[in-house]
């Protein structure tokens, strides 16, 4: 299967090949893989992709999904223009 054509995150263009590269480097958590691949850094915050990353971590390392921690979610969950934020201050 062509791993570089399986798109995990269409926004940051992270592929299954990128995820597997991290796993092969020895990283075992969602937060690690997020920082190394940018998966989950797009506007959707991993809504569409993190469950796939969790599956792969689980399969690769033979660990239970229940033992894998999800990543922390940061604001914002949708995009706000700078001018709206500024006007609010006024």
């Amino acid at each position: 299967m062509e791993k570089n054509k399986i798109i995990i995150c269409p926004y940051e263009e992270v592929t299954m090949a990128d995820i597997h590269k991290c796993l092969e480097m020895g990283f075992t958590t969602v937060e690690d893989i997020k920082r190394l691949t940018r998966v989950g850094m797009g506007p959707c915050q991993g809504r569409d992709c993190i469950h796939i990353v969790v599956d792969e971590i689980s399969k690769f390392n033979h660990i239970k999904k229940s033992d894998i921690e999800l990543m922390h979610i940061r604001p914002n969950l949708a995009n706000i223009p700078l001018k709206a934020l500024m006007e609010h201050k006024k």
Binding site: P10, E13, C44, L77, A78, N79
Partner: protein, 102 residues
């Protein structure tokens, strides 16, 4: 492509004209930009930044995955799934990387 018959609903059919990449097209009152484009058979909404892969309409439920972002009346990165279609809108794909023009 529009659905012809659909249960008990009666649909408003007021036509809204807009352009996509210079082409004259039309939608209906209940359309978002995204649904009007799909109805007109336009499926490629953007191209990915790094590898230029075509991207279509995917998410629908907010939490933008970025693929439906387009340039509307000169403003880039507009979420076409969350924006209602208006008369005479000028809609284009984002040029190159997703960007804003200033």
């Amino acid at each position: 492509m529009r659905i012809k018959r659909q249960g008990i609903f009666v649909f408003p059919q007021k036509q809204i004209n807009f352009t996509f990449e210079g082409k004259n097209l039309s939608g209906i009152k209940t359309d978002t930009i995204a649904s009007a484009l799909l109805a007109n058979g336009i499926f490629v909404f953007s191209y990915s930044r790094k590898t230029n892969r075509p991207q279509g309409y995917t998410c629908s439920t907010d939490f933008c995955t970025g693929s439906c972002l387009m340039t509307v009346n000169g403003v880039n990165n507009v979420q076409t799934c969350k924006t209602l279609l208006k008369q005479d809108m000028k809609i284009e794909r984002n040029r190159g990387p997703k960007h804003v023009t200033l």
